[in-house]
Amino acid sequence: MSTFTAACVRKALRRVGERMVALRDRLNELDAAMGDGDTGISISKGGAALAEFADANPLNDGDDIGKYLANAGMALNRAAPSTMGTLLATALMRMGKEAKGATTLDAHLLARMIVAADTAIQERGKAKPGDKTIVDALHPAAEAFAAAIERGEDLNRAAQTMLEAARRGCDAATPLRSNVGRASWVGERTVGRPDPGAVLCVEILESLIAA
């Protein structure tokens, strides 16, 4: 497959939402070790809201996918206004803005959307790669995906490249010390622990490309 249809987008949104729900306990545990232990609570609520949004809102061929995603982002913010939830909502809204007017998503648009998500999260959260956040997984993933598409890899291979970059970024962040957010207050004790946001990024990308 080289383009996403409206139906694909709606199904993908549902799948991501369900994955977020399933991650509840794991994310709580990861966050308990370095933050306030609630990433899973909030992300599972946000995931449920996304799945509900996809169920409740049809997306037919010819509909504006961008607007659809932006509305999904707002639903996500209402349900999950935590740090992670707000950043994901911001990303989704910005991806929607990037896709404004599109009725299908081709590889190049997809690449621009994922880069936009990365940019949005960095702008809103002011974290840089190396601060040990979701950015450590998302930023290399967005870059790798854009580069793969650029050099003509097919969508499935490019998606695998992206996922591997996210995994490497996530793992590379584990030995770091958290530099922003609640986890930064813990300081040294975050060293050696996976960052919940980075783990979540890997999981979301994985569920996104699991067709």
């Binding site: 709580n28 308990a32 933050g35 306030d36 232990g37 609630d38 609570i41 909030s42 707002m74 913010n77 209402r78 206004p81 935590s82 740090t83 992670m84 939830g85 707000t86 950043l87 911001t90 809103r124 959260g125 922003v180 957010g181 609640r182 930064s184 207050w185 813990v186 004790r189």
Partner: protein, 331 residues
């Protein structure tokens, strides 16, 4: 989990429903959403409006300070979670009395991002919004800009609220909030964890004879975990952490707050206050007012925090100004 509740999912809405019923004379809500708490008489036209917001589980923080002489509105999140940008915007719209809105809230990632979104949206509706972040917790970071906001925010609500009540402009009210917070420092410690209703178990554990100095009000780990010390030593340690960052000395005038985190009885807070009082007055510092009790809690967490507020004449007058909210009455 030894909590008195129904379905944990309904913890916040049922709490708000009960609270609004108990205080219907003083509080109301906007946009048909219980989480958008406002003064019953909002908007107060011609007055600068003050709003705050943040997660639930800290009563009286945040919504407990909505009332005459303090705040006009508060967006309420789930336990330890930010409210959404939407809800902040609804509060902002409802309390705006034509002279602008000041946001005062704690420096937490989720809250900052959502309040920033709300301020952007309010700006598009021609409501002038200013933001002052509370960063009083000296334990949370060496860098003052990265510190989190804890009990000291009450002094910002109090003084900025008084300034607004006295007719101050948005510039003036904002300036008072900043001046207050420049003179406020807090340091806390905890003896036990608390339980987020929807999680159902403690986020951390502390040994039977352990305490944690500098622990955050969501259970964020602190500066050091150590064996439980006598009250006098705890009091001195907190005091030194504060005065190390904001010196006070002979001739200075301060307000002191000894705040209980939830399960620690007032009796113990007064034992801590006693030592703080003796050390400060011994050094020639004048204590203008003492606030001993629960001002910013973490549900059933045991522990306490100490806040020092260095006063000048202007801040003293504003601190002494009357206020009346469901949780804070000063005559």
């Amino acid at each position: 989990m030894k909590k008195i509740l129904n379905d944990p999912k309904n913890f916040v809405p049922e709490m708000l429903d009960g609270l609004l019923k108990a205080h219907a004379d003083q509080l109301s809500y906007a946009a048909n959403d219980l989480r958008c708490i406002v003064r019953a008489d909002a908007p107060v036209s011609g007055k600068v409006a003050l709003a705050t917001g943040g997660g639930s589980g800290h009563l009286p923080v945040f919504l407990g300070y909505v009332g005459r002489g303090m705040l006009d509105g508060c967006a309420v999140g789930d336990v330890f979670q930010s409210p959404s940008a939407d809800q902040m915007l609804e509060v902002t719209r409802r309390i705006h009395g034509g002279r602008g809105v000041l946001y005062i809230y704690g420096n937490y990632g989720g809250d900052v991002m959502n309040f920033d979104m709300a301020a952007e949206m309010a700006g598009m509706e021609d409501i002038e919004v200013r933001t002052v972040l509370v960063k009083d917790d000296v334990a949370s970071n060496r860098d003052p800009e990265k510190r989190r906001g804890v009990a000291g925010m009450v002094f910002a609500f109090k003084c900025a609220g008084a300034k607004a009540d006295l007719g101050g402009s948005l510039d003036e009210v904002e300036a008072i909030a900043r001046k207050t917070l420049a003179n406020v420092r807090t340091m806390g410690m905890a003896l036990t964890p608390c339980i987020v209703p929807q999680v159902g178990k403690p986020t951390f554990t502390l040994g039977e004879d352990e305490m944690e100095m500098g622990m955050g009000i969501h259970g964020e780990p602190g500066i050091s975990r150590e064996t439980l010390k006598p009250a006098d030593e705890i009091a001195e340690r907190m005091l030194r952490a504060i005065t190390g960052d904001m010196p006070v000395g002979a001739g200075d005038r301060v307000a002191v707050m000894v705040n209980g985190l939830g399960a620690t009885p007032p009796e113990e807070l007064y034992i801590v206050y006693r030592r703080v009082h003796d050390v400060l007055t011994g050094e020639g510092v004048k204590i203008h007012r003492a606030y001993v009790g629960e001002y910013a809690t973490s549900m059933e967490m045991a522990g306490c925090s100490l806040t020092l507020f260095r006063l000048d004449d202007e801040l003293t007058t504003l601190l002494d100004h009357p206020a009346r909210t469901p949780f804070f009455v000063q005559v």
